[in-house]
């Protein structure tokens, strides 16, 4: 009997709670019910998306592909140049473009090696003579062996604001070249190269068994044949520019 009474009381409790909930729900207006339903769906979507995307990431990146063409030999030329002094130099070159609101600037660091020595193409016909155990040598003048001494592909970028054209970069390279000439083509460096030229030739000729060696370095360019005129024009230009830079360095000193 006792068991029956407890079951009955439980059933009564259930129906009471259900009735109470139904009554509460009836009191809530239909519009609020719809809002609650939509809100619940949105929360469920957000939670679902969070669990779905918590281990995922999105970013914008670049994929660069560098291709190198095969190295082509454009020209090969037999030369006879003796290098006696190498001056490796770095120069900072910069350019500024004035703007209305701000200035644009480009700064680069250039590298180059100036090589001083003698070119056998400038030597006289009888530049080396032997009589008995004596050798007399008249070396052509010491000069800058290569007018193109800038290692432009080794340039480092230092600072850049604004857009710059290839023409501006070309002018910057020329600016660096002029700075290097001014810094390196000094009277002292040319003299060091001359002394080393004499010492090295003396060492080489004495190694061949000659005891008496007389070495001189001519100070003027020899007259070249008509066929060599074109090439000598460029060479004389180079000496002109080097002498100009020497004058400049003199002024600096």
């Amino acid at each position: 009997m006792k068991r029956k009474t407890t079951r009955k009381s439980k059933k009564n409790d259930h129906s009471f709670v259900q009735d109470l909930l139904l009554q509460i729900l009836k009191t809530i207006p239909q519009s609020m019910m719809n809002a609650l339903l939509i809100g619940g769906v949105i929360i469920a979507l957000i939670v679902g998306a969070y669990f779905l995307l918590r281990n995922s990431d999105v970013s914008i990146g670049n994929e660069a592909t560098v291709r190198l063409s095969p190295t082509v030999i454009e020209q090969m030329e037999a030369i006879g140049q003796w290098e006696f002094l190498a001056i490796s130099d770095e120069e900072i070159a910069d350019t500024v473009r004035k703007g209305i609101f701000s200035d644009n600037e480009l700064v680069r660091i250039y590298k180059g090696t100036l090589r001083l020595g003698i070119d056998m193409a400038d030597a006289r016909k009888d530049w080396i003579r032997q009589s008995g155990d004596t050798v007399t040598v008249v070396l052509p003048p010491v000069k800058l062996l290569d007018e193109n001494f800038l290692d432009e592909a080794a340039t480092k970028s230092f600072y850049e604001t604004g857009k710059w054209s290839q023409q501006a970069r070309k002018q910057l390279a020329e600016q660096a070249r002029r700075k290097m000439l001014k810094r390196c083509m000094t009277k002292a460096n040319i003299e060091t190269a001359r002394q080393n030229a004499v010492a090295q030739f003396r060492q080489m000729i004495s190694s061949m068994g000659f005891k008496h060696i007389d070495i001189k370095i001519s100070s003027t360019q020899p007259k070249t044949q008509s066929s060599k005129k074109k090439s000598s024009k460029t060479k004389s230009k180079s000496t002109k520019s080097s002498s100009k830079s020497t004058v400049k360095s003199k002024k600096n000193n």
């Binding site: 281990n55 002094l85 080396i128 432009e152 480092k156 080393n196």
Partner: protein, 217 residues
Amino acid sequence: MSIFNRKIWIFALLTTIFSACGKGDEQSDEVELPDIVMQVQQQARLYSTEYRLHKIITQDDTRQLQGSILNQKYKLDLPLGKRSIAVPIEATVKAYIDFADFDKENVKRSGEKIEIILPDPQFEIISTRVNHDEVKQYIPLLRSNFSDEELTALAQAGRAAVAKDLPRLNLTESARQNAARTLIPLLSAMGFDESQITVTFRKKFTVSEISKFLLDS
């Protein structure tokens, strides 16, 4: 606090804020320049051959949307996101014989005959030039120009490739022949008969190569 005092406080506060902003701008404009390096070295090199080399470096650069979803990686090319550039470079390379250690050991004389023993030619990049007039680039509307840093990195990659390619170009034989062509007239002017002159080249072996020979023998 009177109205006058309040005005003074506001003026002082504004002055401090503006002066602080000004200092910040000045600091960002300052550029610390690196030290300039100059190195002078005495040499004794005979340059026998000059080579003009040419190389083109190209780069394609695509902007992509990339990431992963449910542990699956993805990459999507963005429209109007591909830019391209071609940079031609020219390099001058010279072959040289190093005479720095030239002494009696390099000369063998027996009667009228003379033999000059020289180290093998070596190669050096004398200069490089970026051909600015022939640089071609395509930049789409939504992309920025190639920065100076990117351009110099491309040129450096080209230079490194030229240096790497030098042993493959088989330049040694021409360098040897041209060095002999410079030295033989010099020796004949010193009284030696051209038929009695021999110029021999030998490879300058490194320590690791010598030790390898010893181990093999």
